[in-house]
């Protein structure tokens, strides 16, 4: 289990990174935190000719909040966000999901950009991006563009990123105070990738639901929002019966795989159970935060 040889570059500016990608395209692989790529290199499941390491690009390691929302540089470590206790009130769903990402020593290296771009269908960040209407800032030598998270995930482990592009920043809108949220994951062991996970986000105004997001991981080749289930909530007052129907609908919108950890049918079952609990919890929180 030793990596195959590669040419290694560790530039210290985004411009240099983009030049290298421009030059090498598909032959180059970007190394961010390395918590997914590292094992793949050791197992020789990934044998790139060129590795472009972002770890010396200091400009990509930052996060800041302003009146438009939270912006996080791609090379920000998971543990940096984990340790910021303010995020627990300003971005509660994000703060709650981070401890589910592997273990502390993984989060010390693992980066936000790496997790979003690696697009593991069972990883936490993609669900957060979907549930919170996140956007992704992408650059190449020609310029920048922004993609909505809902358009970013294309197919299994594949995103909208072109070979000459890098993800430089993710953006999350500010938290709506009259909202409730929940993040639930089911895995065989603490810290493992989810067999199934749900991020739910509900905004209530005058007891009626004005916005709903249900993002599911482990429910198919890509993380998805169950939009039909979401729309069943809009304009409605929340009742347990309604939430049960929504949860059933959400599980129908999935296209889960069967593997040794769980069959597709069991994943669907888990989805209906977990979506229901997530929505119940989100409603409870929304009610408490004044969204009645």
């Amino acid at each position: 289990m030793k990596p195959a040889p590669f040419d290694y570059y560790d530039p210290d500016s985004v411009e240099e990174v983009l030049d290298l990608l421009q030059q090498y395209g598909d032959d180059a692989k970007i190394l961010a935190g390395g918590q997914s790529l590292g094992p793949l290199l050791n197992m020789r499941l990934s044998t790139p000719q060129i590795i472009v390491d972002l770890n010396r690009v200091a400009d990509l390691e930052y996060y800041k909040s302003d009146n438009t929302g939270l912006r996080v540089g791609a090379m920000t470590r998971q543990s940096t966000l984990e340790d910021d206790t303010n995020l627990r009130t300003t971005q509660p769903i994000l703060a709650a999901s981070i401890p589910y990402i592997g273990h502390r020593s993984i989060r010390n290296r693992g980066t936000v950009g790496g997790s979003v771009a690696h697009a593991d269908p069972a990883a936490e960040w993609p669900a957060i991006m979907l549930a919170l209407d996140g956007t992704i800032l992408i650059r190449n030598t020609k310029g920048t563009r922004t993609v909505d998270a809902s358009d970013f995930y294309v197919s299994a482990l594949t995103t909208d990123l072109e070979p000459d592009e890098i993800l430089v920043e993710i953006q999350l809108p500010n938290w709506v105070k009259t909202s409730g949220w929940s993040f639930i994951e089911f895995s065989r062991r603490h810290g493992d990738f989810a067999i199934l996970g749900v991020a739910a986000y509900l905004t209530l105004e005058n007891r009626r639901c004005t916005k709903s997001r249900i993002a599911i991981i482990g429910g198919g080749p890509i993380p998805i929002r169950t939009s039909k289930a979401e729309s069943m909530l809009i304009g409605e007052t929340i009742s347990d019966a309604l939430l049960k129907d929504v949860a059933e609908q959400a599980s129908k919108e999935l296209d889960p795989d069967s593997d040794m950890h769980a069959s597709a049918d069991y994943r669907r079952h888990l989805a209906s159970v977990l979506v229901l609990s997530a929505l119940q919890k989100a409603t409870e929180r929304a009610n408490k935060s004044g969204g009645k």
Partner: protein
């Protein structure tokens, strides 16, 4: 600056356990292989080489990381601490002492990774609950002890550390 990759080796300079080393290293060599085989500091163990078992945990700029899924070149101009940094001479670190007194090890192979993980945990949380200890240690696998004695050792270590 972009270093030309004329061959697949690099000269790197790093600090390990307070000592500065300068070595030429092939870029694909993992950090743990470098520390063990090039520097001959073998307290850090290789258990899985895919970032799951925690045996290869080292402190990288003061924070625990898995050295089997990092490259040695990434440690250029950084500082690394291994289990060998914990005790001074014959004097065990309080965490090591607590593991010893509580039978928190058997074969000893996972132990260096646990010790450094605990060192980090207690620096962030000097008085962890049982649940916090279990969650924080869940990234380190021990195949011998059944963990009860390790958890007891961490609680004991927390007391020793608070007394210091």
């Amino acid at each position: 600056m972009v270093q030309e990759a004329t061959d697949n080796s690099r000269l790197i300079k790093l600090t390990v356990n307070g000592i500065e080393y300068e070595r030429k290293v092939e870029t694909r060599v993992t950090l743990v292989d470098f520390i063990r085989n090039e520097l001959g500091i073998t307290g850090t163990h290789v258990g899985c080489e895919h970032g799951v078992c925690g045996a290869c945990t080292v402190m990288f700029d003061g924070q625990p990381v898995r050295s089997c899924i990092m490259l040695a070149v990434q440690a250029d101009s950084h500082s690394v601490q291994t289990v060998e940094s914990m005790s001074s001479g014959d004097q065990l670190h309080p965490i090591q002492q607590a593991f010893w007194e509580n039978f928190g090890l058997q074969c000893g192979f996972c132990t260096p990774g646990f010790l450094l993980t605990v060192q980090d945990l207690l620096s962030r949380n000097p008085n962890p609950t049982d649940t916090e200890i279990r969650e924080e240690l869940s990234g380190n696998i021990c195949r011998c002890t059944g963990y009860q004695s390790i958890i007891a050792a961490v609680k004991q270590a927390a007391i020793y550390m608070r007394q210091e």
